[in-house]
Structure formats: structure tokens, C-alpha cells
């Protein structure tokens, strides 16, 4: 026990020495002084004179200072103590130069903060595994038909059944079908929900476990009773996360349904799902034409995505041979679920990650430059310390400590900025940013920030160290107050500034291209006028409208009621909203008096819209008429086509009066086109549906009174307050049916903004980075030139004394600045050209090497560089020759 206590005491002493080094030093001094006094006293008692005793005592002791140092060292805390001393000293040095410190820390914080924010998003979206068992084995299966220009289409239940039974590369394959429904509470307040119907093995295929209750049982397939599994978010929102919901019954579209489980919060596939319901219908329904289900599969252990693709293509080929009428040209594409979820966000995020990396590099170069500038001023201090015996390693440590302090400060501030940045990113993020819920700062990000800041600290700390510690101390002392500025130091600083300018130019070129591309997108003709249009979705359950006629009648009455509301000038509805997210249907068609060559398999998007749709959106009618009240179910079918359709199939002839035949199409459970023959009565301008970038595809519009789609989006043109209108519309709907909900209310402007959001996101961020980079680079130019001016005061003084006028001096300094800018320009342009491939996929209507953008950015860079040189140049002309030369 006692030995342990003795050891602990030793440790305690060490700690005390650490926390109170001054007192420990004082104690040692006291102890040694006491010894010398005692020795002196003894010597005097032996008869020596006072001064002799003093001398001899010290000789016998042998080097008071040396032993004091050794005694202190023997405490064994020297390394830590020195470190703390370094930190203290470093903090003092930084505090002495607050402007320098603030600029350096803020610069680093910007770089580190931007990287933290972007890396957080990138990590959550691109790097984290999906929340499923063995997520890399999960594949999405799409149908594909190149003749009909369908890349990722859905699958019919019959085809899916053949896939599931006939493949050799998947362990499991499930179908799902996202749709919507209405959950009613007892108080009659309906909630629209996103439902996903799935085959009963869906959760096993994904490897997703329930949080409460269970997932579907293997006997809950075709012919069984439908049961519901809740998504975590919906469970929390709607049922207050009450676990007793399992086993209870909810009312979905008027039908009671038992809740059997709740899934885990991370399970959000498909992303919008509120609840999952088992498919209780057999797969041998409808025809192979009816392609409306999606499919997900899990690869067997030894299979690969390529093997699965080949397997499925072969299988689809066999199905096609057996069913040439329905499956001609239809094959299968297999893509990994992860790639599909991340999608084209990957490219955009990687561009941003590159950009933030560049910003960080610029920030580092800036701080290195600041440190270099300052180190010139400190060269004398360092030299003196070296001369007094400070070890080189000790000085290196001191300087490194200072840069680590700076980067540490930058990291702390940067982390705060990064946290804000992530919030900001999510606020401006496109609604489609995948896996948004999973995005947050975490330990991994913190670790990366830590590593980044230490590495940056060491990196930018190395430059001045190389300059100072390895420099020749003799010349430094001899030079006195004049700088030790050697050609090497000069070159290093200039290289940093040129590098900064080049990186900034690359960023600003990227930003400029995106801005131009974005403005191109803004000017795209959508084919409609978004201002003053309100949209709202609704979905009629079979309990409210049991059959097609009832659906048509319901929407007709609703439309009439809304048309008379105050402020409403036009009202229509559409199965698919332009630029909305709902599914668009494309199908083959045939015409009464026209044969098409087989290679031009006639095909168009089918778009049922109610009378008033084109008026509400102000889509121009190019010839003929659009739908009106006359186009009822009991009268002949009529259709309207778009310009793209006329271009593709009419070769310039007038389509009006031509007839479609054999087109009684049924959209699965969603509704149907209720005529089989349709006469073309009009042509409308092309309207963008599938994003702003894509060309408009041929489309046929059908009247809402002759088609019975249950799910529609109301399109209401109005004047005045949209809020009041929404209330009025809810009232009108309530009079028709208390159990149908009006959801997803937004203006057409919002829809348009949504379609632009991803481009806006990238453009906004890259512009921000571009501005930051430009700012940092101009600070760099300014710093170097301003410093050079102070260094060259003597020279300037001599020149002016010899008759150079202020203009010459100004030109000289501006020339220095311009040389740096031009070097940066050349390097940056080369870099921008080299990196142009990274951005090209993000651009619309502009090349990645657009000369106009390159030229204007080059102009901006020169202007900024010159502006940054102006102040130092002006300062140089203020030099008083007499003062300057006396200082020499």
C-alpha cells in the first residue's frame, strides 16, 4: 500500500510542477540558495573571508545554472511544460497581432467551414451505406425500350411474375407500386398519405426489420387480407409514436385495415412512403401492356450486376419472343439501388466538393503567405533566439505550435460555420436531395475536420519554418531591421499568390458557367405562364366515387364550384402537372387513316386534362380548339396534340380532323380513357413536363370529361390572395365530400422553382465559393504587395530622391501586381480548361469552355488584382525619401 502511495506522490509532484511551474521553479531556486548559504557559512567558520567563501562555495557547487536546469528537467515534465510554454508564447504572439490573427483564423474558418458543410452532405448522401442489409446487393429493375425512347420504365404484373420465376441471378425480387390514399380519423378530418403497395416479400428482400410489430408474412400475398405497415415519420406525426397502434385498425379510403407493424426510422424507401400495404391481387391480371409496377431485387451471393443484367436481358428476350405484340422492343436495365437513389446528385456534389477543396487550398495559401510576411518581420527575433542557443527543433516546434493554434481556431470557428452551412444547404437544397434525413454532423465529419485542420496547420506552417529556421542566422542579425528577404522567400510568396489566383479563377469560371447555364434555364420557354396559378392535388377513393362515371361527374361538379369562387378566372385539372413529380404515361397509338412505318413506332404521352386547363396555364392554342363543356362522355371523343407530336408524325400536314382508333386505355387502378376513338380538334404549343432541360416529347391530351382519372391536380388561375382561395376551395370540396383531402397545395411558381432547384442549388453554392475565393485571392495579392512596399521603402526612397516621380513608383508597384495576376490567369485558365469535363454534365445551353465566360472571368480577375494592388501602390508614393533612406 505504502509503495503505491509513494508512487502517487511522485505523480502528484509532477502534476503540480505542470500546473504551477513558477512555484516549482521558485522552490528549486530556494533550495539551491539555501545550500550555497550553508556552504558559505561553513567556509567562513573555517576562516575564509566573505568574498572567498562566496567564491569557493560556488566552485564546489559547480555551475548553479546548469544544475538548476538539470533539476528542473529531472521532474520529467519538460516536454509538456515546453509545449504549454509554446502555446502561451504562441497565444501572446497572436494576440500582439490581432488583425493578422483575425484574418488568418477567419480565412481558415471559411475554408474549413465550407469543407465541413459540403463533406457532411457528401458523406451522408454518397458515402454512407443504405440502411439495409448488404445494400450493395440491392438492384432496381427497369424496363427499357429504345425504339420508344423509354429508358427507365415500369413493369407489368405479368412480366414481373415471369422475371421473378425465370431469373437465375437474384435471390429475391419484389414489386412495389407507389400511390396515394386518404386516411380518415373519427373526427372526419382526412389526411392524404403516400401508400406503397408491395409484394409480401418486400421487406425480406430489402433486409429491413420492423421497429414495432412485424413486416408482411409469407402468406399475405394474393387473395389474403390487406394489412398496413407504417413508416416511422408517419407513425410519429399521426399517431404520436404510440406503439399500441399495432393491432389497431385505421380507415384507408373508407376501408378498415389492420396495422401490423412500424418500420425503423432509417427505412425510407421509397422516400415519400407513409405506409406500405401488401399486394393482394394476383400477378396474372391485365395485359403485359399495363406497365405500372416498379421492381427491386437482391442479387444472389455470387452474382454481379453485369451477370444479372445479361440474365435479365436474355429473359426479357424470351418473353418478347413469346409475346411479340405486347413486348416488342422491351428489355430490362439493372441498376444498383444506391446509384439510383443518389442519381445525378453525385456529379453536382462532387463538383461542390472539388470547389470547397480549392477554397481550402486558397485559404491555406493565404495563411501561409500571411505567416511568411510576418516571419520576415520576425526573422531577427528568430535569429537572436538561435544565437542564444535555442535549438532548431525547439524553434520549429514554436512556429508549428503557432500555426496549429491558428488552424485550431480556424477549425473551431469553421465547425460552427459548417454547422450553419449544413442547415443553410438543407434550406436551399433541391427537394430531391436524396436521403436528406440522414444528413448531419457526426464523429466521422469531426474526425475529418480535425485531420484537415492539423494537416493544413502543418502545411502552411512549414513555409515560414523553411524560410526562418533553415535561414542563415548571421546575415539576419547583421541585416538588423532590414529584412532578410531573400530571393527564395520572395519566390515562395509569389508562387502562393499565383496559385491562389489560379485556383480562384478556376472556381469563378465554374460559377460563371453555372450562372449562365442557370439563366439559360430560366429563359427556357415552358409553354405556360406560371404567375397567378394555384395547384392542388386530390385523389378520389372508390368509396366516394365507385366507378368511372362517378369520378368524371365528381370532378366536373368540383370544377364548376371552383370556377365561381371569388377571384378565379380559369380552372382546369390534369392527371400529370407540367414539371410536377407525378408519373407520366406513354403508350403506342394507331390512327384511322394513316399508316406509320414500323421503325417509327407511333407513341405519345397520354395526358388527360379537364376543360379550362390550357386557359388556366395560358398555353397558346396554335390551331383548332381546346376542350370545353361540350366534350362529354356521351359525345364523340376528341383529342388535342402538341407541336412535337405534329412535327414527329404529320410531316407538316394539318392534323385536325384525323382520328385515333383503338385507344381505350386503362391506367391500372388509377382510371381510364373512356372512349376508343378520338378526333383531333386542336394543336397546342409544346409544354415542358419532364424537366426544363429535356426536349418536349410528342403528347396527346384527352378531355377530363371523357377520361376518369381518380388522381388529378387542380390548376386554378386567380387574382388576389391565394390563401383565401385555398380556404374557399377546401370549402367547395367539403360540400361535395367530407372525406376527400386537398393536398400538396402550391403555386405553379413553386412547381417551376422546384424544377429549377437543383440547378439553383449548385449555382448558388459555386457562386458563393467563387466570391469567397476571389476575396481570399485579392487579400493574398494585397498582402504580398503591401508587404513588398514596406520592404522596398528604402529603394523607393532612393528612386524618388534620384528623381523618379510618384507616377513611376505607382507604375512599378502596379506592374508587380499585374505580373502576379497574369501568371495566375494563365495557370488558372489552363486549370479551368483541364477541369471542364467535371462540370459539363451540369450545364445547359453553354459549353464548359465557353470563351465568353472565360474572357469575362479573366477580366474580373485582372480588375480585382489591380484593385488589390492600388492601395499598396498608393502607399508607395507616400514614401518620404528622407525618412525612408534614414531608416536604412
Amino acid at each position: 500500500m505504502e509503495p503505491l502511495f509513494d508512487r502517487l506522490r511522485g505523480l502528484g509532484l509532477r502534476l503540480r510542477g505542470l500546473f504551477d511551474p513558477d512555484r516549482a521553479d521558485r522552490d528549486i531556486q530556494d533550495e539551491l540558495s539555501f545550500h550555497l548559504e550553508m556552504e558559505e557559512e561553513r567556509l567562513r567558520r573555517e576562516g575564509l573571508a566573505r568574498t572567498e567563501a562566496h567564491r569557493v562555495a560556488r566552485v564546489r557547487f559547480g555551475g548553479e545554472d546548469r544544475y538548476r536546469e538539470q533539476t528542473r528537467d529531472s521532474r520529467g515534465t519538460r516536454l509538456v511544460e515546453d509545449g504549454m510554454q509554446d502555446v502561451k508564447f504562441g497565444l501572446r504572439m497572436l494576440a500582439k497581432n490581432p488583425l493578422f490573427t483575425i484574418v488568418a483564423v477567419v480565412t481558415l474558418a471559411l475554408g474549413i467551414g465550407a469543407n465541413t458543410a459540403i463533406y457532411t452532405v457528401v458523406k451522408s448522401v454518397l458515402l454512407e451505406p443504405l440502411p439495409f442489409e448488404e445494400p450493395d446487393e440491392l438492384m432496381l429493375l427497369f424496363t427499357r425500350n429504345d425504339e420508344q425512347n423509354q429508358q427507365k420504365y415500369m413493369v407489368s404484373p405479368m412480366d414481373f411474375d415471369d422475371w421473378r420465376n425465370g431469373n437465375a441471378t437474384f435471390d429475391a425480387m419484389s414489386a412495389y407500386w407507389p400511390t396515394t390514399g386518404t386516411v380518415t380519423e373519427n373526427d372526419g378530418n382526412p389526411t392524404r398519405v403516400n401508400i406503397v403497395y408491395t409484394t409480401e416479400d418486400y421487406f425480406e428482400t430489402l433486409g429491413a426489420l420492423p421497429l414495432v410489430g412485424r413486416t408482411f408474412r409469407s402468406d399475405e400475398g394474393p387473395g389474403s387480407a390487406a394489412v398496413a405497415i407504417l413508416a416511422y415519420g408517419f407513425w410519429e406525426r399521426r399517431f404520436g409514436a404510440d406503439p399500441s397502434i399495432v393491432g389497431r385498425t385505421i380507415t384507408l379510403d373508407g376501408e378498415p385495415m389492420e396495422v401490423v407493424g412500424v418500420v425503423r426510422p432509417e427505412h425510407t424507401f421509397p422516400a415519400s412512403a407513409d405506409l406500405w400495404i401488401n399486394m393482394t391481387w394476383p400477378m396474372q391480371i391485365q395485359s403485359r401492356f399495363a406497365r405500372w409496377m416498379s421492381a427491386v431485387g437482391r442479387l444472389s451471393e455470387h452474382s454481379t450486376i453485369e451477370a444479372a443484367g445479361a440474365d435479365m436481358v436474355a429473359l426479357a428476350g424470351r418473353i418478347e419472343q413469346e409475346n411479340p405484340r405486347t413486348n416488342r422492343g422491351w428489355t430490362v436495365t439493372v441498376t444498383s439501388l444506391k446509384d439510383e437513389l443518389v442519381g445525378d446528385t453525385r456529379a453536382a456534389l462532387l463538383v461542390l466538393l472539388t470547389a470547397t477543396g480549392l477554397v481550402l487550398l486558397i485559404a491555406c495559401a493565404n495563411v501561409a503567405n500571411l505567416l511568411l510576411s510576418r516571419s520576415e518581420a520576425r526573422a531577427r527575433e528568430i535569429a537572436v533566439r538561435t544565437a542564444f542557443g535555442a535549438g532548431r527543433w525547439r524553434l520549429v516546434r514554436q512556429l508549428l505550435t503557432e500555426s496549429l493554434l491558428l488552424s485550431g481556431g480556424g477549425a473551431v470557428l469553421g465547425l460552427g460555420l459548417g454547422w450553419l452551412g449544413v442547415r443553410g444547404l438543407l434550406a436551399v437544397a433541391p427537394v430531391t436531395l436524396p436521403r436528406e434525413g440522414a444528413i448531419d454532423l457526426d464523429g466521422g465529419v469531426l474526425a475529418v475536420v480535425l485531420v484537415v485542420s492539423v494537416v493544413t496547420g502543418v502545411l502552411f506552417g512549414l513555409a515560414p519554418i523553411a524560410r526562418l529556421v533553415l535561414a542563415d542566422i548571421h546575415s539576419a542579425i547583421r541585416d538588423g531591421t532590414r529584412s532578410t528577404r531573400s530571393a527564395g522567400g520572395h519566390r515562395m510568396q509569389n508562387a502562393f499568390v499565383v496559385g491562389q489566383l489560379a485556383l480562384a479563377l478556376m472556381l469563378v469560371v465554374g460559377a460563371g458557367l453555372l450562372v449562365r447555364s442557370f439563366s439559360n434555364l430560366r429563359e427556357v420557354d415552358t409553354g405556360f405562364q406560371a404567375d397567378g396559378v394555384l395547384t392542388a392535388e386530390l385523389d378520389l377513393p372508390t368509396t366516394v366515387a365507385p366507378n368511372d362515371t362517378a369520378v368524371i361527374d365528381f370532378y366536373d361538379r368540383l370544377r364548376q364550384r371552383i370556377a365561381v369562387l371569388p377571384g378565379v378566372t380559369a380552372v382546369g385539372d390534369a392527371a400529370t402537372l407540367p414539371l410536377g413529380e407525378a408519373l407520366d404515361y406513354t403508350e403506342p397509338f394507331a390512327m384511322a387513316e394513316r399508316e406509320f412505318p414500323p421503325e417509327l413506332e407511333p407513341r405519345a404521352f397520354l395526358r388527360p386534362v379537364a376543360a379550362g386547363f390550357f386557359e388556366a396555364l395560358r398555353t397558346p392554342v396554335l390551331s383548332g380548339r381546346v376542350f370545353d363543356e361540350r366534350d362529354r362522355l356521351d359525345l364523340p371523343g376528341v383529342a388535342v396534340v402538341n407541336e412535337a407530336w405534329v412535327r414527329r408524325y404529320m410531316q407538316g400536314e394539318d392534323p385536325i380532323g384525323e382520328r385515333f382508333v383503338g385507344m381505350g386505355f386503362r391506367f391500372g387502378p388509377l382510371g381510364a380513357l373512356n372512349k376508343t376513338e378520338w378526333e383531333i380538334v386542336g394543336v397546342v404549343k409544346d409544354v415542358k413536363y419532364d424537366g426544363l432541360r429535356a426536349d418536349v416529347a410528342p403528347a396527346i391530351y384527352f378531355p377530363g370529361l371523357q377520361s376518369s382519372l381518380r388522381r388529378r391536380t387542380l390548376v386554378v388561375r386567380h387574382v388576389g390572395d391565394p390563401g383565401a382561395l385555398v380556404a374557399d376551395m377546401r370549402g367547395a370540396l367539403g360540400e361535395l365530400s367530407p372525406t376527400v383531402a386537398l393536398t400538396d397545395v402550391r403555386t405553379m411558381g413553386d412547381v417551376l422553382a422546384g424544377a429549377r432547384s437543383r440547378d439553383r442549388f449548385s449555382t448558388l453554392l459555386l457562386s458563393l465559393f467563387g466570391v469567397v475565393a476571389l476575396l481570399l485571392a485579392s487579400v493574398g495579392v494585397y498582402g504580398v504587395l503591401a508587404y513588398a512596399v514596406t520592404q522596398r521603402q528604402g529603394e523607393v526612397g532612393i528612386r524618388m530622391a534620384l528623381g523618379a516621380d510618384r507616377g513611376d513608383v505607382r507604375t512599378m508597384i502596379l506592374g508587380d501586381g499585374l505580373r502576379l495576376v497574369l501568371a495566375g490567369l494563365v495557370l488558372g485558365l489552363a486549370g479551368a480548361l483541364a477541369l471542364s469535363g467535371v462540370l459539363s454534365s451540369q450545364l445547359y445551353g453553354i459549353g464548359a469552355r465557353d470563351p465568353g465566360v472565360l474572357a469575362s472571368v479573366a477580366g474580373i480577375l485582372v480588375a480585382v488584382g489591380l484593385a488589390a494592388s492600388l492601395v499598396p501602390a498608393w502607399r508607395a508614393t507616400r514614401v518620404d525619401p528622407v525618412v525612408a533612406m534614414r531608416a536604412e
Binding site: 509513494d6 508512487r7 546548469r66 544544475y67 538539470q70
Partner: protein
């Protein structure tokens, strides 16, 4: 070679300090120095200053402990005392030393 001798001396000095303090009553650094000189009959002449790094090292190993007190001439002084751990250490070093010197002696006296 020089290094090895220094280490030997250092180790030896530490052992001598422990031995000096074994007497029992707390001693200050000067006292230890004087006692070593007296006991060795002036043979061992070390720089008195080298005592202090050794004392502090020993204290941090927990072999001796110190206390500030008042010296015989009424001055503030630091007194050292052997700890139990130090006593055990002294025993070990003593045995080692005997072994070492015995071996060296046998070699030197061999004919």
C-alpha cells in the same frame, strides 16, 4: 564510453543518497552532501550541485519524499526522507552493488 561512466556515477550517487537518508531523520540537501563527504573520508568528491537533480529524480520515483521545514539555523529548507519504496530499492541496489564489486574484486585479485 563517457556516457556509460556518467550513468554509473549517477546511479552510484543515487544509491549513496538513499543510504545516507537511511539513518532515519530527515536531511536537507546540504546535509546529505556533507554526510557523504564525511563518511567517504573525503574520497568521493562530487560537485555538490549534482546532488539536486538526483534528489529530485529520486523524489519523483517515489523513493524519497520531501517537506519544507526549518533548518538548525532557522532558515526555510527542504528536508528529504526515505520512503518504504526507497528502502526496498536501497536493499536491491545494495545487493547489486555487492554482487558487482565482489565480482570485480575477484577478477582484480586473481593471480
Amino acid at each position: 564510453m563517457t556516457q556509460a561512466r556518467a550513468d554509473l556515477l549517477q546511479g552510484t550517487l543515487e544509491m549513496l543518497i538513499l543510504k545516507t537518508l537511511q539513518v532515519g531523520e530527515p536531511m536537507h540537501g546540504w546535509g546529505v552532501a556533507v554526510r557523504i563527504q564525511q563518511l567517504s573520508e573525503q574520497v568521493l568528491q562530487v560537485n555538490q550541485g549534482s546532488l539536486y537533480p538526483a534528489l529530485h529524480r529520486l523524489e519523483h520515483k517515489g523513493w524519497i519524499r520531501s517537506e519544507w521545514g526549518v533548518s538548525e539555523n532557522n532558515r526555510r529548507a527542504k528536508f528529504y526522507r526515505l520512503t518504504a519504496l526507497g528502502l526496498r530499492q536501497l536493499g536491491e541496489e545494495h545487493a547489486q552493488w555487492d554482487l558487482f564489486t565482489g565480482a570485480v574484486g575477484r577478477i582484480l585479485h586473481a593471480t
